[in-house]
Amino acid sequence: MLELFDGPVPVEETLARWYKEEATSNYGAFIPFVGTIRDEDGISGLSFDIYTPILNSWFEAWQSKAKESGAVLKMAHSRGDVPLHTSSYIAAVFSPKRRVALEMIEEFVEDFKASAPIWKYDLKDGKRIYAAERSTKIKGSGLLKVKK
């Protein structure tokens, strides 16, 4: 399940809901990763653009991979502006055993950072500035650059 929110992700409510949803699914381990906007570099918040069709297929590919290990993934992400000290992101894995869950949450979050079609902007001095330096080229980038 992939959930998008306009503005901050309601963390307490979302964690509680996910926990309840899987309460009797017989998963022994549940690991959510919650990402919160830090006060740094004078920003007043972050803002996000998301390209949903590719995000969905990226997520579905991960969900299939998780299923092979008997696990299930959930994810929530913000669209638009997210103020300081609120959260823009939760990724979670449920699995029967802890090793699968510990390994999968790490791989899932890292691949999310490297591949998910989401663009981040700093909100600063009333402007929305693309976070170019913190962004990662998706694998295969540069395809359209004509070799001289």
Binding site: K113, A132, K137, K139, G142
Partner: protein, 73 residues
């Protein structure tokens, strides 16, 4: 005609053009001063599927998307 769309921070309206492969798109876009820099940093999708082969054939109605460097979370 195929459509080229620019995602996220690339401030550019979509373009329609004649192209029979991604290579045609690359040649066309490389003439666009606005896209300098973006071409080497962008990944490419055709009809919302990521592609990595410049020889990918295109047919009329196909949609090519440019995806700049990402930073979710």
């Amino acid at each position: 005609m195929v459509t080229i769309e620019f995602l996220g921070p690339i401030q550019k309206e979509k373009i329609s053009l004649q192209a029979s492969s991604l290579n045609d798109v690359a040649v066309y876009l490389s003439a666009d001063e606005e896209l300098k820099g973006w071409l080497e940093s962008c990944a490419v999708a055709v009809n919302d599927t990521m592609v990595t082969d410049l020889n990918t054939a295109l047919k009329s109605g196909d949609r090519v998307s440019l995806l700049p460097p990402v930073c979710g979370g």
